[in-house]
Symmetry: C3
């Protein structure tokens, strides 16, 4: 893919964001690009290929937002970008003149997405790549659920390489409270701390992470292994409890 | 290695192709560079260091082909490039003035190959680095073997990070046939599909991969783990069978 | 982090040195940057984030040496750089105008270290980032210990991705001796060879590595797995023994 891009635009700046998405894991890819894109320059072209349906009927798309361009299979991998960014323009990739031909059945990253991204970086207008794309596929990011007792049930949406658990429970960035209780599996955490360094090594800790949601870690350890949890597992937040 | 290159040519564009070759696995490295080089610009300098014999008598070489320059230990790692590309010029690395001195016994990537690649990127002619190199070492890529019954026995030549099995059985890119049968281990696959997305999740599937050879995958799964196979294992193709 | 840097300095050259440091392993990070920095151009800005204490009171620092700039948490990760390089200037990171605000509690790499490194690459003087930093935290790199019988006890300070064991036992680069004996665990190695290629496949071998210290490998194998050792384990060198 890098070679294809460089042959089209020899002066482009290539930046590796992640090559660590678990195979076929669209949601994990969606989380990574959704967390990172806004930190890049507004003229960045984000090439996002997690593509288990390659070669099937799924479309390829290119989008333009205030925070950059996105080129990806239309399989939901841009869901978390679209949940945050209004789309200024969206097209379906339908013009083989911008592809590497013949197109293989299993590597559209190399044959379609990479060359299209390269042409966008050269300034080719989005409309050149195909017709307007409507109904970009998105999955609904899991939403926390407020219970009748005031507790909120959320879930683990991402696990980073340190084993830290990222949840979908939004909290203000400066939340430090001793009156919040968190449940994950059968374990309870009795407070929200400033950071994992607020507790002793080996201890479980909850804190507001760098994307303004509740995270759970083991200081100097691996919470994913300690708690034996997975993406999708429930995390419950008991607010303002007095016990 | 990157620092050494940048000190010699501060304006060079560094591109990481792979840092994932299994330790000492020359054939795996040969496959990766052999599959990728032709997609890069023709003035690219490919620095290919899989080097279990570092510090022994094995030579270092630099080659020029129509599709770029290659700098590597002369241990067969360029076999699949040489099987595809006529060599325009080949030299043995013999001029210490282009090396980092003193040269360590175990890191010629840093001390010899990286600086030579950097000087090539600056336009230093290949002849400057040493005498003409003859008899570049290559291993013969495994060739499929046609049996008396018309079946063809090939083998697995690469396994990608998804666990997909790449074989050495060449097929036209658009092959989709229900009359081909494939055997791998004790399992049979009854057709060649367009892509893995042509079957249901969890199913075994054969298809023509992005390098025009037969590949075997498990849709949304890992064929290497499911079939418990390794590089070198046999894959048999029964052509035009009627059963 | 890369996006943050590029928004501040769109023309900077980003170079990935390593993303493979074990979580929270300051000493491993210290070894990697300590081994590599001097090969980079002298105007390089080295951004070194291994940061288990993020969000606690630990400072961030920026240093200038003859071999480049370093931006890092003040937690010892620059110990091996400081053991080799006189510091020309050192400042504490104290000026939020050079940070991404609001600063998260857990990702100072993105919010503090990356933007500061980017501003340094633009030529902003170190003094702009905060007051002079004294007493930069360092751990004392483990020193070999000479015994009364003349043997020297060192230890494993790093294990590379090939499973090769790097020790802190310095030896001249061209040491090849049959009268040195090395003990690691309960195994003995009877000589120091030029390189791992000097022995047969599968054999244990000691040699002087690319950082001029004794290393132990299994040719075409993995010494770490074969010997079941870890960083910190003892390695004893019996010099000039006659037995």
């Amino acid at each position: 893919m890098k070679g294809v891009i460089l042959r089209i635009n020899p002066t482009v700046r290539l930046v590796d964001l992640s090559h660590e998405v678990s195979p076929q894991n669209i949601r994990e890819g969606a989380y990574i690009i959704g967390s990172a894109y806004r930190y890049f320059p507004a003229d960045a072209v984000h090439l996002v290929v997690v593509d288990p349906g390659v070669g099937s009927g799924r479309r390829g798309v290119a989008l333009h937002t205030e925070h950059g361009f996105f080129v990806a299979p239309d399989n939901g991998v841009l869901s978390l970008v679209l949940a945050q960014e209004p789309v200024q323009q969206a097209v379906e990739l339908a013009m083989p003149k911008y592809w590497l031909n013949p197109v293989s059945a299993t590597f559209h990253g190399r044959d379609i997405f990479a060359p299209v991204a390269a042409y966008i970086s050269l300034g080719v207008p989005l409309a050149s790549f195909g017709p307007v794309a409507k109904d970009i596929k998105t999955f609904t990011p899991p939403a926390p659920c407020v219970q009748s007792d005031g507790s909120i049930i959320g879930e683990i949406v991402y696990i980073d390489r340190f084993g830290n658990l990222v949840t979908n429970l939004s909290l203000p960035a400066d939340t430090v409270q001793s009156k919040l209780k968190i449940q994950v599996g059968e374990r309870y955490i009795q407070s929200v701390q400033h950071t994992f360094a607020s507790v002793d090594a080996g201890e479980l800790v909850a804190y507001v992470g760098s994307n303004q949601t509740l995270e759970i870690a083991v200081r100097d350890g691996n919470a994913c292994e300690t708690l034996d949890v997975s993406i999708g597992d429930k995390v419950t937040l008991f607010r303002d409890c007095e016990a």
